[in-house]
Symmetry: C2
Subunit: 296 residues, 2 copies
């Protein structure tokens, strides 16, 4: 175990992200119909782990070797959470997962109606690109490319389509591909965008790529494992829901022990990839361990 104080680090970074999301959405919202802005901010500012912005900031800080980052990095961190939030709002819709609750509060469409929830999601998605493209730095075009490829038809949305497909095969290759797209692509983009926005070189980018891919998969396996082994009170949702719903999970396909071993291997791969970026174990190694060691 590293001596790095992850809890305090996460606390600091999450608060930083909350403030950024609050101020950026308010700044961009002055010309937005109030009800739309309210609906966007209802979901955007509903808490959560803020994993994607935290990873983006952590990679930028590792490249820069300081905790002060440029506005480009902050804009990317916010944009990643805008995209993640839109995906949750649309996934919760009646025609998708039909969920009434998200993080203990009514889902967006339960509060604002289905039409507004669709439009709030569309706005969060679109405005994410206004954030990333919102300045003169030439790197912003490249960052828009990273974000759009990770989020679009060959990334996150493609993964969601694989997840809702009726004829999906119960095979580890399909399961892995689905999660690489559905959650992995955006987590990987968060790491890559942190490096790119901070002006990192090709070696740092390749390391962020390997790390992001491994952590993204480890995070999803841990989610599935927690549903089997977790504690309902710390999870904030019933345990065993996946199995009860006959969901397609890593434990269901690989078994519980093999799933845990695969997640542990992925974490080791991630930590090994960033050793040159972080010679003394720090946030990147700790965040990789957190992907599987968390209790919720």
């Amino acid at each position: 175990m590293s001596a790095f104080d992850l809890e305090s680090y996460l606390n600091t970074q999450q608060q930083r992200v909350e403030k950024l999301l609050d101020s950026r959405s308010a700044e961009m919202g002055t010309q937005v119909p109030p009800r739309l802005l309210e609906s966007m901010r209802y979901s955007l500012l509903a808490g959560g782990k803020r994993l994607r912005p935290v990873l983006c900031l952590a990679f930028a800080e590792a490249v820069l070797r300081q905790s002060t980052v440029s506005r480009v990095v902050e804009d990317c961190a916010c944009a990643l959470e805008y995209i993640h939030t839109y995906s949750l709002v649309h996934d919760d819709l009646p025609s998708m997962d039909n969920d009434d609750l998200r993080r203990g509060r009514p889902t967006n469409h339960k509060v604002y109606g289905e039409a507004m929830a669709i439009l709030a999601g569309d706005s969060l998605l679109t405005d994410a690109f206004a954030l990333v493209a919102g300045g003169p730095e030439p790197v912003r075009g490249l960052l828009c490319r990273e974000l759009s490829l990770a989020a679009g038809s060959a990334g996150m949305v493609g993964g969601q389509v694989l997840d809702i497909a009726e004829d999906r095969p119960a095979h580890i290759d399909y399961l892995t591909r689905m999660h690489r797209l559905k959650t992995g692509a955006l987590i990987r983009a968060a790491c890559r965008m942190g490096v790119l926005a901070a002006g990192g070189d090709a070696d740092a980018l390749a390391r962020a790529d390997t790390y992001g891919d491994a952590v993204g998969l480890a995070f999803q396996i841990a989610d599935d494992v927690l549903d089997v082994t977790g504690d309902a009170s710390s999870m904030g949702k019933p345990v065993g829901a996946d199995a009860a719903a006959g969901r397609f999970t890593f434990p269901a396909v690989l078994g519980l022990e093999q799933s845990k071993q695969l997640a542990a291997r992925k974490v080791a791969d991630a930590i090994s990839a960033v050793q040159t970026l972080e010679p003394v174990e720090g946030p990147l190694a700790a965040l990789a361990r957190y992907a599987v060691e968390r209790s919720s």
Copy 2:
């Protein structure tokens, strides 16, 4: 009236746009789940006037003084139609306008189901930015900014929210603001992006801005007027549907004659703005007239 042959010009440009949309969506689709790609292309390749790409190409050609344009211009033209198509797919959804038919064919959700229609719309929206950001040219970041601001919460989506608001006032200012956002912002962006992608200067950009704003509004007024005066067979939809549904239109707020006069003034404003870009009346003047003189 100008001697410019608009019909033949529109034909040529629309065919050019069809080919671009077909090839770009196929190129980007190699890693996309087939059913998702099929659903995206079902709506993308369903025909239509292709007004936004045609305007983008026309402004680029006016700036370049030739009909050969760069890949950046073509990517922008396609991206504008991706955004327009996504907005139609989401607007047709049961919780929005609940339309079963679009251009004489079943709407996306009627064919692919509601979940897939939402995801196809999300993909078209996201992939539009992958198109615009899909190359190394520094201008691509600026183009992403134009597109996201025009399409997002302070643009097209904001206008849609104003349109579905229950408490909207029957006032010309509200109606104008709503259409400036809902359809005007993207039409204006099409003109501006054509100039920017072709390397036009600040003067050309300002002219494209004035033209786009005027043509966008004229186009919408003409839509409302056609619903009162049009011929059902050339419109491809029943005439008088707006009035029957008690819709909030320019003729309803201003009266028919005043609406026609306002549209004519906007067309004159647009043509006057581009006289230095197009010393002999050509595509830009003809497209402005077409906005109000079309029969469907």
